[in-house]
Symmetry: C2
């Protein structure tokens, strides 16, 4: 399934639920619903993460007992509006690169069976203003390749492996 998000998508209709998660049928609410379908694990590999609604969804999963792991880019995680500090503070495991190049992936894997990937950085600017694509893929071959990439990065960015000069 390909979810193609366009700038100026119509807003969500009035909703009775008072929770701070997006609802209705916007690209963002569809993305959140996919994430909230996680029951056991959520592996996140995100260049940039500043969207509060997506951070809330990730925190909710963490509180539910889903195992959340997050790898991100060292140069972007400290930028204004980044949600990384908040997620770390909530007890979510976060690892980051140590390179001058960017950790430029933007993908999530739900329960090791659903891959969510595309051009979309998890920022409010991207969701509100950009032309972006997000692919939701359950084909095992693709999921496996990204899961393996995640595990490689997770190990490589393990603080126990940091090199000191």
């Amino acid at each position: 399934e390909a979810l193609l998000a366009e700038a100026a998508e119509p807003g969500a209709p009035a909703r009775p639920c008072p929770c701070p998660l997006p609802s209705g049928d916007t690209a963002l609410s569809r993305l959140v619903r996919r994430l909230l379908s996680a029951r056991r694990s959520l592996d996140l590999c995100l260049f940039s993460f500043s969207c509060p609604q997506l951070a809330r969804a990730v925190q909710l999963l963490h509180r539910r007992g889903v195992r959340v792991r997050l790898v991100t880019d060292a140069q972007y995680m400290g930028l204004h509006g980044s949600q990384i500090g908040r997620l770390r503070h909530a007890g979510i495991q976060v690892r980051h690169d140590q390179h001058s190049g960017y950790m430029h992936h933007k993908f999530a894997i739900v329960d090791r069976r659903m891959l969510i990937t595309g051009s979309l950085n998890w920022t409010a600017q991207a969701i509100q203003s950009n032309r972006e694509n997000v692919l939701v893929v359950e084909d095992a071959e693709y999921v496996k390749a990204f899961q393996e990439e995640f595990e490689r990065i997770w190990e490589e960015y393990n603080p126990a492996n940091y090199r000191f000069f």
Copy 2:
């Protein structure tokens, strides 16, 4: 098929061909081979395009008579190292957005049957230094969604539709 490019990939072996296209078995040479398989059309939707080797491959296809169309982001097409001017000069049709938001897609469609998409901007920095992913997809459902997005953008960015204020 998922092509996962990693920084510091081993270089190509010595090669007899004097052409300026990448060869060997690097992620870049595999990407170029996919592009050069085009026989009729190549639709490019690229946020940023500054990689000379990829620009050469696109020009080669244009010279072979493949119909190349390119849409790009207005704010990035004028940056240092951009290949957009060179491709326009070679006679390739280029259209760009008129928005403050980014045209942030990074995909190519070969002969309306093969989708190449991912996190990778077509820049030398991304190819040499970043952690990136590129998906090659021939599943008709995905190709159709991206082809439709391409046609929407191509029409929307038609200069005949520019609004003057």
